[in-house]
Structure formats: structure tokens, C-alpha cells
């Protein structure tokens, strides 16, 4: 993936570059606002990480120009201002997420991943319902009754797989393939871990994950059972 980082603080920019490069992304780093705006006008990126306070042109202006040119590249705004208005302003101007400095680098990576995946994850817009569990694939949000449950990415994917066909039994291998693909080496224990976590998060739901020993797992709505 190709990421544009616009950050004028060398120490910070260096660290962000390094971390994203370590996970295999291509990072272009600009320290000047107007230079960044120039680059954005002719280069396609998968993610823009944008500091607000910049020499040349500030982050908001860059963002505004970007959205006016109908580009829908995900933008993550970094701000050091205490004015929380900055964040609101950023969201209003079309930023996809923001972080207030100083931030945890793992959090930055996690949020960047979410944004990158949203871009690649296609356009599933439908809502899957099983029991009182509903899964909004567009927002990637899960509701149990009225409660919104915060799920991790893989938990969400796992639930998406199970809920896509309630009652169907998925084998561990099937789930391993869909969850991790071939790029990551993960053992069957990983599936057990995620199933455990998901079960816990659906604890009071009217749907549950049933383990068929030696066969696999299925999602069952309580009112069906």
C-alpha cells in the first residue's frame, strides 16, 4: 500500500515512516504543506496521514482541496492543538479519522489498518441479522439488542463469516483460510482464541456459537433452537 505522510516534525515523521515501512507499506514523506498538496494533485495514494500545523499550507487547507477535487482517499489527521474543534473540523472537512498528539504508535497503526482495509474491503452494504445480533457490514458495527458491541477486526470477520449463513457448520480449516488467508502463519489455536473472544462478547445475545467437536462451529439463533 502507498501512504503519504505529511509531517514537519522530523522525529515524528521518521518514526511513522519506519513503522509503516516495517509492515511492508510504501511511505512518501513530505514536510511542507504546499509540496504535499502538489504531490496529491497528481499521485494516487491509499492513505494520507496529515499533520495540521504545517509550514506552507496547513493540513485543513490540504484536506479541503483534496475533497474538493472529489478524491476519496482515506485521510487520518494528526493534531497537536488542544482545540478539540480541530478534530471536529477535520471530520467535517472529510477526514476519516484523527489522532491527538501525542499518540500511541500502535493505535496509529491500528487506525491506519482500519482505513486501508475499508478501502479494499469492497462495498458490502447489507445488514446481516441472526437472533438479536445484527451486523452492519458498511459501518462494520455489531449490535446485540440495543447494545453496540466493539469487535476487533478478526472477530468482526469471523462473525461475518458465521452470520453469513447461520446454522451452517464451518470447519476450523475453512475459517483459518478466510480469516488469515495464506500470508500469515496461524495455527488452529488461533481460531479457538477468536471463537472464545467472540463468544464472550455475544454473551447475553439471543444467538450463540455452537462448537461441534471435531467438526467445526456454527452460529445459532436462540429462537430457532
Amino acid at each position: 500500500m502507498r501512504i503519504l505522510l505529511v509531517e514537519d516534525t522530523i522525529d515524528v515523521g521518521e518514526a511513522i515512516c519506519r513503522r509503516f515501512q516495517l509492515t511492508g507499506h510504501t511511505v512518501d514523506w513530505e514536510t511542507d504543506g504546499s509540496a504535499a498538496a502538489d504531490i496529491l494533485s497528481f499521485t494516487e495514494y491509499d492513505l494520507v496521514i496529515l499533520d495540521v500545523m504545517l509550514p506552507g499550507l496547513d493540513g485543513f487547507s490540504i484536506l479541503r482541496a483534496l475533497r474538493q477535487s472529489k478524491s476519496n482517499v482515506p485521510v487520518l489527521v494528526l493534531t497537536a492543538r488542544s482545540e478539540i474543534d480541530d478534530r471536529v473540523g477535520a471530520l467535517d472537512l472529510g477526514a476519516d479519522d484523527y489522532l491527538v498528539k501525542p499518540f500511541d504508535f500502535r493505535e496509529l497503526e491500528a487506525r491506519a489498518r482500519v482505513l486501508l482495509r475499508r478501502r479494499t474491503g469492497g462495498d458490502a452494504t447489507n445488514i446481516i441479522v441472526c437472533g438479536d445480533v445484527s451486523l452492519d457490514r458498511a459501518n462494520r458495527s455489531v449490535k446485540v439488542g440495543k447494545r453496540e458491541i466493539q469487535l476487533k477486526r478478526r472477530e468482526m470477520t469471523l462473525l461475518e463469516i458465521l452470520a453469513s449463513r447461520p446454522g451452517k457448520v464451518f470447519s476450523k480449516e475453512e475459517l483459518l483460510d478466510q480469516l488469515f488467508g495464506f500470508e500469515e502463519a496461524a495455527g488452529p489455536n488461533a481460531i479457538e482464541l477468536y471463537i472464545g473472544r467472540l463468544r464472550k462478547k455475544l454473551e447475553r445475545a439471543k444467538a450463540r456459537i455452537v462448537t461441534l467437536r471435531g467438526v467445526g462451529y456454527q452460529l445459532v439463533a436462540d429462537d430457532n433452537a
Partner: protein
């Protein structure tokens, strides 16, 4: 009313009263002088008339002086009923013809040759008014001056003068009272704009730093201009302070971010276990420093916001969801069950979106950091006239005796690790500015420990 803080009304009325009293005193004095003069004039005519009659009764017969006292003269004087009458008729030789021989007017008799002479003197222990008349008489032994002196006590004059004075005094008193009453009314009326201005100031929202625009009379314009000038300066100060906070936030955050960034770049593989331990501590301390800095700056920002921003209708579901998203990092422990439950009928409260979000976020952050072991739930509910955001977790909770303290700034629980810093303080301050409070509910069977923020519903929401 103390002497230090007498009202404008009392001061004006008191001064007018003094002026009126002085005026009344001088008017009464003038009336008294006038009354005395008038009484003297009135009774002097009687006195003069009687003296003329007596003088007319002096006749010369056969070259000798003859005198017949006219009773009508006494009847004339008798009009002053209570007054005693003394008289003396002196012949040209200078001897007393009849009457009281020892009656002596103050002025020499000869002075009366130019006309009647009035005077005041004392006779037989009583104050008397005298008149002296002269008449040239030609007798056998030549021409000479004879004199008539008539004296009358002054009881009637004094009675008339005092009656006139009493009446004048009464009138002056009535007029003074009317004037004072009128003044009081007029002053009350004139001071009404001051009251209006005072009311406007009293009822003004303390956060409202816009200039005042009351309709005041000319005299109050400098006063209001000063107030507006002051408001303006205060407004500038607040803005300056906010800018200062914002600038310092930037100035502090940037190196702090750089610090975390650099720390995150250190390659742990090449480190000795000891160094790794040190690095971990540096990382933790850096994170703590970052968090405190954020809280500190947010706290300053939130508090100053209330100095200037106006309240608006805010959806509690909305603000709580935003706070939830802000406070729960994506990197949260995967074993933690975190959920959000909005209220079915969205409570609308009067508040400031950003401050409130910050308050709720701080409570959630605190629960996440110090409370929850595997479950954290955020719930928006409506309770009577209040909208409520509840944050519950399955942690041990805060002991009831600490509830009062945790909302204090930088208070650390006795257990030591649960330093809440400013989180609860921010939440508590925001809640109380909005007329609400922060509250706690103890952990019980089937119920997690809960911290909630309660804010009164917007007026139109309360049915």
C-alpha cells in the same frame, strides 16, 4: 441602610431635604420678619390715628393751651383689645400737661417736628411701641412746640405676627413636604434606568461576553460604556488565554510526540534484558506523561470554554457515542467486552458538545485504565428530568468513602495505582457547570460498578 452603602435615592432625597429645610427655615424667618413688619404697620396706623386725634384736641383758647382728651382715640387703640395704653401730652414749656409724666420715647421729642416718630421702648416693665407727634402752638408767651406721645404694649402685634408666622410656617411646611414627596417620586422615576441596568447586569449570563445594549439615559452612557469596555477586555483576555492554552498545547505536544516516536524506534532486540526493562519504563512514563499532558490541556481548555461559549441543545446519545469512539482505542485489549447502548428516546440537554464529550471520554478512559477487567459498558438513559450517561465496568470499583475525593484534581486513591489525575475532575466540573453532577453506584450482585454523569434535560424536553 448603612452609612457606607446608602442608596442613590436616599442620598438625593437627603440632600434635597436639607436644601428644603434650609429653604423653609429662611422662608419662615422671612415670613416672621414680614409678619412683624405687617403687624407693626397695621397697629402703627391705630397708634398714629389715636395720636393725631389727641394732637387735634390741643387747642388754644384765649392764648392758653386747652386739651380735651378724645375718648375715640382710646376706642381706636382699644381695637387692640389686650393692650395697655400710655400717653403723655407735653406743653410748649416742656411740662406734662396730662398723662404719664415719665413716659419717654427713645428718640428725642424734637425729632418729631419733621413728622411722626415711631419707636420701641420699655415702660413699666412692658415692651411698648411709641409714637411722638409734634404741633406748633402760639400762646401768649410766644410760639412753641407741644408734643403728644402715645404708647401701646405690643401684645396684639406679637399675637398678629405670631399668627401670620404660624400660618406661613404651616404653608411652608406643607409646600416643603409636597416638594420632598415630589422629589422622591421624581428621583424614583429618574433612577429607574439604573435599576433596569442593574437588572440587566444581574440577569446576564456570566458567560455572555458580548457588549450590553440597554437603553439608558445620557448620564448612564459612560457607565455602560465602561462596563462594555470591561466586558470587551475580559473577552479579549479569555480569548488570549484560550489561544495561549492552544499554543502551549502545540508547543508541548510536538516534542512529546517526537519523544514517543523516537522511543518506539528503539530496537529492543539489541538490548540487554536490563536495558529492555528500562526502555519499558521509559515507554510507560512517556505514555503517562502524554496522558497527563492531554488531560491538563483539555482541562484548561474545557474550563476556559465555559468562560465564553454559549450553551446549545445537544443530543446526549450523540455526544456519548462520540466520547465512546474517542476513548476506546482500536488497540484495546481484545478480551475486553466493550459496548455502547444509546437511549431509545434521545435525551436532549443544554450543554457544550466538546466539553461534555471530553467529560464522558475521561470517565470511560478512567474505567478502561483503572477499572474494567473484561467488561465495559456505556449506556445513555433518561431519568426524570435528567439525561444520564452511565459507564460501568466489572472492576472492583471505587470504595464509597473515596467518591467525594476522586473528583478532586490530582487525587490519588490510597491503593496508589489508581491515580485518576484530572479525569473525574474534568467530568465533575463540566457536569456542575451544566447544572448536573457526577455520581457513583456501588457494585452489587448482578450489577457492575458504575460512574455516571447526570445533566438536566433541556427545558422543552421536560414534560
Amino acid at each position: 441602610m448603612t452609612t457606607h452603602r446608602s442608596s442613590l435615592f436616599a442620598r438625593i432625597v437627603r440632600r434635597v431635604a436639607i436644601v428644603l429645610m434650609l429653604g423653609a427655615a429662611s422662608l419662615i424667618t422671612a415670613a416672621w420678619l414680614y409678619a412683624r413688619t405687617a403687624a407693626d404697620e397695621a397697629y402703627d396706623r391705630l397708634l398714629l390715628g389715636a395720636a393725631f386725634q389727641m394732637s387735634e384736641s390741643l387747642t388754644v383758647a384765649d392764648g392758653a393751651l386747652r386739651f380735651v382728651l378724645p375718648p375715640s382715640a382710646f376706642e381706636l387703640l382699644g381695637l387692640a383689645q389686650r393692650d395697655r395704653i400710655f400717653y403723655r401730652v407735653i406743653d410748649p414749656a416742656g411740662s406734662t400737661l396730662t398723662g404719664y409724666a415719665d413716659l419717654e420715647p427713645k428718640a428725642p421729642l424734637s425729632q418729631s417736628r419733621n413728622g411722626p416718630v415711631f419707636g420701641n421702648t420699655e415702660y413699666r416693665g412692658a415692651a411698648v411701641r411709641t409714637v411722638t407727634l409734634s404741633r406748633a402752638m402760639t400762646l401768649n408767651d410766644g410760639t412753641g412746640w407741644s408734643y403728644v406721645v402715645v404708647a401701646q404694649t405690643v401684645e396684639a402685634r406679637q399675637a398678629l405676627a405670631s399668627e401670620l408666622t404660624t400660618r406661613a410656617t404651616f404653608l411652608v411646611a406643607v409646600m416643603s413636604l409636597l416638594a420632598l414627596g415630589g422629589t422622591a417620586l421624581a428621583v424614583r422615576y429618574s433612577l429607574r434606568p439604573v435599576d433596569v441596568l442593574g437588572d440587566a447586569l444581574r440577569q446576564r449570563d456570566p458567560q455572555d461576553l458580548t457588549p450590553m445594549s440597554a437603553d439608558v439615559p445620557r448620564e448612564l452612557i459612560p457607565f455602560m460604556t465602561s462596563i462594555n469596555h470591561f466586558i470587551n477586555r475580559l473577552d479579549e483576555r479569555v480569548k488570549l488565554l484560550q489561544r495561549y492554552v492552544a499554543d502551549s498545547a502545540h508547543q508541548i505536544r510536538t516534542p512529546l510526540t517526537a519523544l514517543t516516536a523516537q522511543v518506539s524506534l528503539i530496537n529492543e532486540d539489541n538490548l540487554t534484558p536490563d536495558d529492555r526493562r528500562h526502555l519499558e519504563r521509559v515507554r510507560n512514563r512517556t505514555a503517562e506523561l502524554a496522558r497527563f499532558t492531554n488531560q491538563l490541556l483539555n482541562h484548561a481548555m474545557v474550563i476556559h470554554r465555559f468562560d465564553s461559549s454559549q450553551l446549545a441543545a445537544v443530543s446526549l446519545n450523540d455526544v456519548a457515542r462520540k466520547a465512546f469512539r474517542t476513548a476506546i482505542p482500536i488497540t484495546v485489549d481484545p478480551d475486553m467486552v466493550v459496548s455502547f447502548e444509546a437511549a431509545e428516546d434521545d435525551p436532549v440537554i443544554m450543554g457544550d458538545m466538546l466539553s461534555l464529550r471530553e467529560a464522558i471520554a475521561n470517565v470511560i478512559d478512567n474505567a478502561l485504565r483503572h477499572g474494567a477487567s473484561s467488561r465495559l459498558e456505556v449506556r445513555v438513559t433518561r431519568d426524570g428530568g435528567y439525561g444520564r450517561v452511565e459507564v460501568s465496568d466489572d472492576g472492583p470499583g471505587i470504595p464509597a468513602q473515596e467518591w467525594g475525593n476522586v473528583t478532586k484534581r490530582f487525587y490519588s486513591t490510597r491503593s496508589g495505582k489508581g491515580a485518576s489525575g484530572l479525569g473525574f475532575a474534568i467530568a465533575s466540573e463540566v457536569a456542575s457547570v451544566l447544572g448536573g453532577r457526577i455520581g457513583f453506584r456501588e457494585k452489587a450482585e448482578g450489577q457492575d460498578f458504575c460512574v455516571f454523569i447526570e445533566v438536566p434535560l433541556a427545558a422543552e424536553e421536560r414534560v
